[in-house]
């Protein structure tokens, strides 16, 4: 049971405090409700570029990192299609430094041209490093627009293409900031050896005078039901063929989310999983095959990826994978299998709550989703999934018309 205190400032900033006396560090996590799905389709990659710019100086602070390093702290951030998350860990005696830093950049960024020029280059290099300089790196740049024709999930957080990033202007940056970075659009979590009353004082002191901002109402078009299977072949200089399958599924808040998660566990979580036992060990089809769900807020994708041995054709790969999916649909698995993956999932829940930073991030995430108290109801939700739920949800997800599939073909150059 995770106990915490919660309060909201007048300007709409939601604050959660988690107490842990056993650690000398405090975690300070701030989540903003803006992600790649909020971007203009002509200006993608912006939420992520912006995350970088947040470190380029704010109204009163020239160098965010230097101030924090002086306080013995560390920080990082990440952006995904749904939200942007910044976090600091700092020795508890220097917690006020975290307040100073985060409140100043929520108040106003420095909007420096030099910072924009540099970060455009840095992000372009990140694009290359992650997507173009790795074998199979560019798959998501093709899979997303294949599966999504309407919804903004059709582009990756990094952006559709490097030119969207290099073309970003300072005006774009300012507009983005005032539209999305606001106290009423953020969740702040502080976890460590702290007292709520002291934290409340610090919040009012540092965040109190930041004004409420008009964040536009989200109006994201729903992705219509996919009418038929979609495929794409890519020829690339990679050593082995690979197959990438994406099925549409529900969003994170849907009642069937946990069933979908457990389905992916049955298929590929752990060495006794069905893919591992049947497709890797018994049938020797793949060196690796994974099933996982994206976990996105809006209706997301159930992913199945596999690398193929030279002796495995795409036809065989696809049909053997579908064979395993079908077993789930018809209930060809034991109750014990379901009990097993529930145990694994509960165990993972336990291990995800080690350390104040992990707890802070989870609390922020659940509060952003709907309410922080969800952190204590996840276990019962996992336990309540029945075998017939698994079968029904599998049947809904694994429809042929629901499938987008990329055949990633190895250009068999002289090897």
């Amino acid at each position: 049971m995770i106990n915490y205190d919660k309060f909201t400032l007048d300007n709409g900033l939601r604050v959660i405090v988690y107490k842990d006396k056993s650690t000398p560090m405090v975690a300070f996590n701030i989540l903003y409700d803006v992600g790649a799905r909020d971007e203009n389709p002509e200006r993608t990659g912006f939420a992520h570029l912006f995350e970088h710019l947040m470190f380029g100086g704010s109204k009163n602070i020239k160098n965010y990192d230097t101030v924090l390093q002086k306080a013995g702290g560390e920080n990082n951030a990440f952006t995904n299609n749904d939200h942007t998350n910044y976090y600091i860990t700092v020795p508890k005696q220097n917690i006020e430094t975290a307040f100073y830093l985060e409140s100043d950049r929520m108040l106003e960024l420095a909007f420096s041209k030099k910072s924009l020029d540099v970060q455009r280059n840095v992000v372009s290099e990140e694009f290359r490093q992650r997507y173009f300089n790795q074998p199979y790196g560019d798959v998501s740049l093709y899979l997303r627009p294949l599966a999504y024709k309407v919804h903004p999930y059709q582009w990756s957080t990094i952006g559709k293409e490097i030119s969207h990033i290099t073309g970003a202007s300072l005006k774009d940056v300012k507009e983005f900031f005032y539209k999305h970075y606001a106290p009423n659009n953020a969740v702040l979590v502080i976890a460590g050896d702290v007292e709520t009353s002291a934290i409340e004082r610090l919040c009012k002191k540092w965040f109190g005078n930041i004004p409420f901002r008009n964040v536009p109402q989200r109006d994201i078009p729903q992705e219509p039901v996919q009418p038929e299977k979609r495929t794409l072949s890519l020829d690339r200089d990679v050593p082995a063929d690979a197959i990438y399958m994406a099925y549409h599924m529900c969003g994170r808040m849907d009642n069937d989310y946990f069933a979908a998660d457990l389905i992916s566990d049955l298929l590929s979580n752990g060495r006794s999983s069905f893919f591992n036992k049947n497709l890797i060990k018994e049938k020797n089809l793949f060196p690796e095959v994974d099933a996982y769900i994206q976990g996105s807020h809006d209706p997301g994708l159930f992913m199945i990826n596999a690398k193929l041995y030279d002796t495995t054709s795409f036809e065989t790969a696809e049909s053997e994978i579908k064979n395993e999916l079908n077993k789930i649909i018809i209930g060809d698995f034991a109750e014990r299998d379901l009990e097993k993956v529930k145990n694994k999932s509960l165990s993972a829940q336990l291990f995800s709550k080690i350390g104040v930073l992990n707890i802070a991030m989870e609390l922020a995430y659940y509060e952003w989703l709907s309410d922080a108290s969800m952190i204590n109801t996840v276990e019962e939700k996992i336990l309540s999934v029945k075998k017939h739920d698994i079968m029904r949800v599998a049947d809904e997800i694994f429809k042929e018309s629901n499938l987008s599939c990329i055949y990633y073909k190895s250009k068999k150059a002289a090897q």
Binding site: N94, F132, Q134, P239, S272, N343
Partner: protein, 425 residues
């Protein structure tokens, strides 16, 4: 009206307090360290063997042994073993390093006594199944084929090859065919020789209680493996004479750089100073390398430097993934930064910043029992004690720019540096 002009006063970190583990000796002599914590109802158990790659006589022997051990004990099939651990929500990781290898068990505390007997049996009575061995061979072949397409992998292996040569396990390059040269008996022999009770220690972190050691004695307290410690001739390292190795990869859009130097054997004091110097050079986000090559020039998304500690020497390594069109520029800038450290004292304000950062970093490294156990493991395997941490903490506070200048001048001279580039130049 709040004052946003000045940052809040910062309190320096005076000391790093960390709880020493409870130390026990099992009936068979295995040293067992407990790091108790009531925070989470979980247990993490590491069993660490002196069975690293430097003990192998054939390439991949150590990693294969480590991986194959996990499959099953005698008397159970691999499928049954996997089911057993999965059912209890237990996760097992292998880890293989230069000197040590081992297994790490993560399990909810309530299932510890169910899982421990089977976990212990994995290395007391390993099955080492033929079929799984063959699967490992084919998986490894595919993995190496894939890795050889990565600039970063080629650069990293290239530098180790430059520093240590083909015949040393640290420097040997692995090809996709190497796994097929292994036979199962090579794995069986390695396990028998090195996965033995005199050759390991155990660490347990998490919600331990009065039954924990008793359970360890019951399931891990008897002798196993070859109780005569096998003697092994240390491999000989041969450093290359070349300064630049260029691994051309025509499709690359970035080049990976690995630049490094063998600094020989260093005393603890020298190593501590070098560690602080390394932080200035490339060990944190505000480092010389980051500031210049990422934040000023935008050549890279990631650049850093680190100390690689081996059992007989220490190496400084610098790594970056840079745009292919600026490869030569990036290399020049890296060497410029190294020269600057040899020519000029670090300004007082920068030193203060690094001291504070490193102190905070050390404090965070001891945050929680899992982290503390990891630090302790390194102390044991390098033959050090808690006094090393104390020495380190004090030196971070007391070191000055002159000390660091001396350190840079002694160790960072241009001769001896090897540059490896994988990509385009």
């Amino acid at each position: 009206m709040i004052n946003r002009k000045n940052s809040p006063a910062v309190k320096e970190i005076k000391a790093i307090n960390f709880r020493r583990p409870e130390k026990y000796k099992l009936n068979n002599g295995i040293n067992t360290y407990l790091f108790p914590s009531q925070n989470s109802p979980v247990i993490k158990l590491d069993i660490v063997f002196n069975a690293g790659i430097e003990k192998e006589s054939i390439k991949l022997q150590s990693a294969f042994a480590n991986s194959l051990l996990k499959e099953a004990p005698i008397g159970m099939t691999p499928n049954d073993t996997a089911e057993y651990f999965d059912f209890y929500g237990a996760f097992i990781e292998s880890f293989t390093g230069n000197d040590t290898s081992g297994l790490r068990l993560y399990v909810p505390q309530r299932y510890f006594s169910d899982v421990l007997p089977v976990f212990a049996d994995l290395f007391k009575n390993p099955l080492l199944p033929q079929k799984e061995f063959e699967i490992l061979q084919t998986k490894n072949r595919e993995a190496i084929r894939n890795n050889l397409r990565k600039t970063k992998y080629n650069a990293m292996k290239g530098l180790n090859n430059e520093l240590f040569g083909d015949s040393h396990p640290r420097g040997a390059l692995v090809t996709p065919d190497d796994s097929s040269k292994l036979e199962l008996k090579d794995i069986q022999n390695f396990v028998k020789d090195y996965y033995s009770s005199p050759n390991c220690f155990i660490q347990i972190a998490g919600m331990t209680d009065s039954t924990t050691v008793e359970l360890c004695n019951r399931y891990l307290g008897n002798s196993f493996g070859n109780t005569n410690l096998k003697s092994h001739n240390s491999p000989i390292a041969i450093e290359s004479k070349t300064q630049l190795r260029y691994i051309e990869m025509p499709e690359a859009v970035q080049s990976s750089l690995y630049i490094g130097k063998n600094l020989g054997k260093l005393s603890e004091d020298e190593l501590i100073d070098l560690g602080i110097l390394n932080t200035v050079l490339g060990g944190y986000f505000g480092s010389r390398l980051m500031k210049n090559i990422r934040e000023d020039k935008g050549y890279t998304y990631g650049i850093g430097s680190f100390i690689a500690e081996y059992n007989d020497c220490v190496a400084l390594k610098i790594t970056a993934d840079v745009g292919a069109d600026v490869t030569k520029n990036a290399i020049d800038e890296i060497f410029k930064e190294i020269e600057k450290l040899r020519a000029n004292k670090i300004p007082a304000s920068e030193l203060k910043l690094v001291q504070n950062f490193v102190s905070g970093d050390m404090l965070a490294a001891f945050d929680g029992v899992f982290q503390t156990a990891a630090i302790w493991e390194k102390l044991i395997t390098t033959g050090r004690s808690a006094s090393y941490i104390k020495k380190q903490t004090e030196r971070v506070r007391s070191i000055n720019s002159t000390d660091l200048l001396k350190c840079a001048q002694k160790h960072l001279g241009k001769e001896g540096f090897h540059t490896v580039v994988a990509g385009k130049m």
